[in-house]
């Protein structure tokens, strides 16, 4: 970690560029306390400075409050519909989705859904803004009418009311669409640059200038990226023609994710060539017309990649000598300061000044959520707002210092009165003149503040203004606004004259230093997400400092010289049976991962004998001791993370992220079941029986459990079943899938190392005939856990039942015919991203994977081509490469079955798209992701376990019929729903007979203890793995 305060030394940026670059990545998830302690001195004013800054802020706010007409429309809207109210959120939801709904029925239902739940009356007349009152009255009126047709108990109201409703629906829809247009008009400066320039003229007369952005969704297809590029080109041309003034020319801001469908670290090669070319074209044109270009900042995962690209563009001939090519830096990022330092040094080296917009950052909550989901070791952003403000001021102190501002043109974007006033003070104090920096604000926000500022000084203020069709922009802007909801509270307090000024002008350094801890104690680190157990850890493969050292550890196991040698393990002994099988890597059959001996009949018998004999002692051990073994196992797996990942690659053909998720799930299973066992199995529980007497029961083990697991989660499911059976007090004979026995062998070795006695747990690799059969036909087997196909589950069940002993528990997780339902309120970009991931990630080899997607006909012509385009961007390849999205399928048998299905469907239905296969695919067993359009789910008989998606169009009114056909398939594992209409989601949720339902997200990747997993009907017996009732089924409940 570097000394932050040293950046103020003028020679700091003269260090070698590479040395400065090295400072960036390690700060990605640096300990927040440590790093803020470094940063605070850089932001901390002296006593005299503090007084100046505080006075300046107080004066600014007092002045603003005097100009009561300067509040903009959006400020007024946020003031009335603060985002911490239900109505505020509902209004934004409506604005986000309504305009894209093409069909009347869905639009009406959606309006009703949104408007009927809120208390609009309370907002009427509260606001002085005509715009806000107009929309409130509209909402109030419609809110009343749409709720009229149903009584509270759900029965239809009388005929008259229903007629009112029917007559008024088109009127309401029209009114709402009109209201959304008005909102769009407020948020969006113009539908074209020409309109924006013309509408912006009044502000420019006041002294403002602009940066325009064709904001919108990220491109998921090459066609969308082309479309965005064209509109940026046009924008540059239009701005180039602007003749208003040569001083403070408007600039264009560019969102890179709109210009390339795969702007991500895994596709760095493409980013550095294809995306580079696109932006270079824009720069060349912009430079010829003297229109500055700013690269927008996006998610933390893309920061390092964006800097690489920026550097390449900046050093290119097209940019050299220009000085108007800049970028955005987010102060909420822990890496912000070293990024600025590196940029200053880069600029110093080349001699072209870099304009840098310093913002606070707009993806804060998604950054936090993502890290929690992925088990990242820390956060890339600060967890307190005041820490971001501190970072902002620390960065400002650097940017405004003489050596930095000589190389960087700082552009301070903020709507916070204190920040603005403080920046002005710092600039004055450091001798920066008004033409050495500028302020920026968003269109429609912060008018009051900046109108005052611009009146009092000759500083340049640039308005960042979205340009484009309301339909495309409003959803995006609303989402940004919601993510950035904290803003609304400041607007609120700024305008509210009753709120004491003194409370608005606390210096963030003072606030932060007054806290007990610098990090926010209410936001747990990803590792501490759960109160009662540690969350599993995962490295972030997008971040150099996190991933590169981790990858080096995996690489140790990736060479052909590393070969695993595995055997059956019985009584702790490796049993060489002579029946050796080598395990080929699914992506390249010329490579092997190792060799395994299969168990023979004698080995199986011996294992069962030992397990039976070991049961009494093991089940008599306190549950807490058994749980300790599981916790130890979890730690051992994390210690051997790299080796297990290498096995996932080489034996199972799993991609990098899939392999991380695999290990994480196994770790989570161990810790979750350990915790469950401690709470429910350690002590007897009391209950009053039906006759009123007090009784005590205890959950105990049943005996020898057979665990039979599949190859698709060779570590997670294997370990999950085995440790569940063990922790309850059973002894276990485990048969892993033939394809993936090496990793199972390592797991058993680790379990023994973790303290599970060697006579309690035995590994029996082999095929169904030699190993599976005796493990299900032996009379001593007291229960069985199985994950695999429905057919095999039935067979196993039959064998067990035929033994002539009392029935035993069978816990079976089997197949699915998983659907996703998409209505016209959903956001196509989100749908396509989630559908592609659900259907093709892990080459479709997940029980939960999407097989049949139902798209409402009204939007099918938008969604289906997008799926096609997104599929063309999927990379099928070697699973251990970061660039690979889809790896191989497990073996030849699976490949043949899938290719046969593709052949069949090509004849029977319409091919939507098929991804490309690389040349080396012939060395292994690859299947190209393929999508077909079919007319009904009935066209499919059984589950096809691979990367094949089927798409069905449906009419909105047939939704219930569709749910019926899905239910009638008999399977019931997962289902995805994409809709903004909560009533629709609730209706589907209540009717669909599935085990795991996912709303507005992908439908794969259930997390232990968060989304307990398992199906019903043909999809499994339950209870759910990773859920609170799972262990109980492995046990017997006995009175004491």
């Amino acid at each position: 970690m570097f000394k932050a305060i040293e950046v103020l030394q003028p020679n700091f940026i003269q260090r070698p560029l590479n040395e400065l670059w090295q400072l960036i990545s390690p700060l990605y998830n640096m300990d927040e306390e440590k790093w803020l302690k470094e940063l605070l001195p850089l932001a901390k004013p002296s006593e005299g400075e503090l007084e100046n800054q505080t006075n300046a802020a107080a004066n600014l706010i007092a002045d603003v409050r005097q100009d009561d007409d300067s509040m903009s429309m959006i400020d007024a809207l946020l003031l009335e519909y603060s985002l911490d109210t239900k109505e505020g959120i509902l209004l934004m939801c409506l604005a986000e989705a309504l305009m894209r709904v093409p069909d009347k029925e869905t639009a009406d239902a959606f309006i009703k859904d949104r408007l009927s739940v809120a208390d609009w009356a309370s907002h009427a007349k509260n606001s002085d803004s005509f715009f806000v009152n107009a929309s409130t009255w509209g909402l109030l009126l419609t809110g009343k009418i749409v709720t009229m047709d149903e009584k509270k108990d759900g029965t239809p109201a009388n005929l008259v009311n229903r007629m009112v409703n029917r007559v008024s629906e088109p009127v309401i829809r029209k009114a709402m669409n009109q209201a959304m247009k008005i909102m769009g008009h407020q948020f969006v400066l113009g539908r074209s640059i020409e309109e924006a320039l013309s509408r912006g003229k009044s502000y420019r007369d006041k002294g403002y200038t602009y940066s325009f952005d064709m904001l919108g969704e990220a491109a998921l297809t090459a066609a969308d990226a082309d479309k965005y590029l064209t509109s940026y080109m046009k924008a540059v041309e239009s701005v180039g023609k602007d003749t208003y003034s040569q001083k403070h020319r408007p600039t264009i801001s560019i969102k890179l994710s709109a210009l390339h469908p795969r702007y991500e670290v895994g596709c760095e090669e493409r980013v550095m060539t294809e995306l580079f070319d696109s932006v270079k074209g824009l720069i060349t044109k912009a430079r010829s017309l003297n229109v500055g270009i700013t690269i927008d900042a996006e998610e933390a995962d893309r920061l390092e990649l964006s800097l690489h690209l920026f550097e390449k563009l900046y050093r290119d001939e097209c940019t050299k000598g220009w000085g108007l090519f800049g970028l955005v830096v987010q102060a909420y990022s822990k890496r912000a300061l070293p990024v600025l330092v590196w940029l200053a040094a880069l600029s110093k080296e080349q001699g072209d000044r870099i304009p840098v917009r310093l913002v606070k950052g707009a993806y804060w909550d998604s950054e936090i959520k993502l890290c929690q989901q992925r088990g990242i070791n820390g956060y890339p952003v600060y967890t307190r707002k005041e820490s971001t403000d501190v970072s902002y001021l620390a960065c400002a102190n650097f940017l405004l210092s003489e050596h930095a501002r000589a190389n960087i043109f700082p552009q301070f974007a903020s709507h916070n009165a204190h920040t603005i006033a403080t920046i002005s003070c710092i600039a004055k104090q450091l001798g920066a003149s008004a033409d050495e920096y500028e302020f920026q604000r968003l269109h429609g926000m912060g008018d009051a503040l900046y109108n005052r500022l611009i009146k009092d000084s000759d500083i340049c203020v640039r308005i960042y203004a979205p340009v484009g069709s309301h339909k495309d922009l409003l959803p995006y802007l609303v989402r940004r606004l919601l993510e950035n909801g904290a803003n609304s509270s400041f607007v609120h307090r700024l305008i509210d004259a009753s709120y004491p000024i003194a409370d608005l002008i606390d210096h963030p350094v003072t606030t932060l230093e007054s806290r007990k801890s610098l990090a926010n104690p209410h936001i747990n680190l990803p590792a501490n997400l759960f109160d009662d157990r540690k969350n599993s850890f995962g490295p972030n493969i997008e971040i150099d400092s996190d991933w590169t050292p981790f990858k080096a550890k995996i690489d140790v196991f990736m060479g052909q010289d590393t070969q695993w040698r595995a055997f059956p393990i019985v009584g702790g002994e490796k049993v060489a049976t002579g029946q050796s099988h080598s395990i080929k890597s699914p992506y390249d059959h010329s490579q092997t991962a190792g060799q395994i001996d299969w168990a023979d009949a004698a080995t199986v018998t011996k294992a069962i004998n030992l397990a039976e004999a070991a049961f009494p002692a093991w089940s008599a051990r306190p549950a807490t001791e058994r749980a300790d073994c599981l916790d130890k196992m979890a730690d051992l797996m994390e210690e051997n993370y790299a080796e297990l990942m290498a096995l996932c690659h080489r034996e199972a053909g799993k991609t990098i992220q899939d392999s991380i998720d695999e290990v994480r799930e196994a770790v989570d299973f161990c810790r979750y079941y350990a915790q469950q066992a401690r709470s429910h199995f350690a002590d007897p529980t009391s209950y009053t029986d039906f006759l009123g007497s007090e009784k005590q029961t205890k959950l105990n083990g049943r005996g020898v459990f057979t665990c039979i697991s599949p190859w698709n989660f060779p570590l997670a499911i294997f370990t999950g079943q085995v440790v569940a059976a063990l922790v309850v007090g059973n002894t276990v004979v485990a048969k892993p899938a033939e394809q993936t026995s090496l990793i199972a062998f390592r797991a058993i070795e680790m379990l023994h190392q973790a303290g599970v006695p060697t006579d309690v747990l035995h590994l029996l690799p082999g095929d169904g005939a030699t190993v599976g059969a005796p493990l299900t036909s032996d009379k001593r087997i007291a229960g069985l856990a199985f994950t695999g196909s429905t057919g095999t589950a039935q067979l196993i069940n039959r064998t067990l039942a035929a033994r002539g002993v009392a029935p035993v528990p069978v816990i079976a997780e089997t197949g699915g015919q998983n659907a996703m339902l998409i209505d016209s309120t959903s956001l196509p970009e989100q749908v396509v991203r989630d559908a592609v991931r659900s259907a093709f990630a892990s080459a479709g080899q997940r029980c939960s994977a999407l097989r049949v997607m139902f798209v409402q006909a009204d939007i099918a012509d938008r969604v289906i081509p997008m799926i096609k385009g997104a599929m063309q961007e999927q990379t099928v390849g070697l699973p251990y490469l970061h660039s690979t999205d889809v790896g191989p399928v497990i073996d030849k048998k699976a490949q043949d079955m899938l290719l046969e299905h593709i052949k069949h469907m090509t004849k029977e239905s319409k091919l939507i798209a098929q991804a490309e296969l690389p040349d080396f695919a012939k060395n292994g067993t690859f299947v190209a992701p393929t999508a077909f359009e079919i007319s009904s789910i009935d066209q499919l008989t059984d589950e096809k376990f691979g990367p094949i998606l089927h798409v069905v169009r449906y009419k909105a009114r047939d939704l219930d019929k569709i749910i019926d056909t899905i239910n009638n398939s008999g399977f019931g594992l997962t289902m995805g729903v994409h809709s903004r209409n909560e009533t629709t989601c609730a209706r589907i949720a209540s009717r669909a007979r599935v085990g795991n339902l996912y709303i507005n997200r992908d439908q794969v990747g259930a997390v232990v203890g968060v989304q307990p997993f398992g199906g019903q009907g043909l999809s499994g017996t339950g209870p759910k793995a990773g859920g609170p009732h799972y262990l109980q089924r492995f046990a017997i409940e006995q009175d004491l």
Partner: protein
């Protein structure tokens, strides 16, 4: 080959969704009305099963997890259950009532067998929707056991019969039909236990991405909380 499913299964399938949707509390309200007509021990058993369900499976459980997502775990009925007793006597009857009420409160439609079953069903039928409880003649039992959509059988029988049932159910194609057997007619040591109920439910997880339209309100709240 199209196999004609027994009419009782079809009837039960039709009412299943509505019965299940009532939720534990809704079903408890209906079933409690039937309690008074049952003799003492049977009534106590039925009431105890209802009470147990209200305590343990009525509420949707909110699972912990990352912010910006709401994860809920709830319980539903599995489908049509056949409840039967092959053992005579008062205690066995208490057991049968226990099976029936457990299956019902869990959200399943129930079919019983023969005159004993009829007696139990007659006392419940007035308080539930038509088709939620049905009874069949013993002669019809086999076709019901073979039926495709039978979700499970709860039976009070001797160990040998339990094995036979287990084999018959395993021989079927389609879903794995649950056998919930009780072979201890004297103490009802399975039926009278708190976890017995879990054999009659299927669990459902609903994961709702609350940030789908943007903001993560929970997190914003946490972020602005004062310590």
């Amino acid at each position: 080959m199209t196999i004609v499913q027994p009419i009782q299964i079809q009837v039960a399938q039709k009412v299943f969704e509505a019965w299940d949707k009532l939720g534990v509390n809704g079903r408890a309200e209906a079933l409690k009305k039937a309690l008074n007509t049952f003799p003492d021990a049977q009534r106590k058993m039925a009431a105890w099963q209802i009470d147990n369900a209200e305590k343990s499976i009525a509420e949707t459980r909110v699972m912990p997890g990352p912010t910006g997502e709401r994860n809920e775990l709830s319980n539903q009925g599995r489908g049509v259950f056949l409840c039967s007793s092959f053992i005579e006597g008062d205690n066995a009857k208490v057991g049968l009532v226990g099976q029936v009420f457990t299956a019902l409160i869990a959200g399943n439609p129930v079919i019983t067998v023969g005159p004993t079953g009829q007696e139990v069903m007659d006392m419940i039928a007035p308080f539930v929707a038509e088709g939620v409880v049905q009874n069949i003649a013993e002669s019809a039992q086999d076709s019901l056991i073979e039926a495709d959509h039978l979700a499970g059988i709860a039976t009070l029988c001797d160990p040998a019969q339990a094995q036979l049932f287990s084999q018959r159910l395993a021989a079927k194609s389609g879903l794995i039909c649950q056998l919930v057997e009780e072979t201890d007619a004297e103490n009802l040591s399975s039926i009278a236990k708190p976890h017995y109920l879990l054999r009659f439910v299927t669990e459902r997880t609903v994961s709702n991405n609350t940030t789908a339209i943007g903001g993560n309100a929970t997190l914003l709240e946490l972020g602005s909380m004062n310590d």
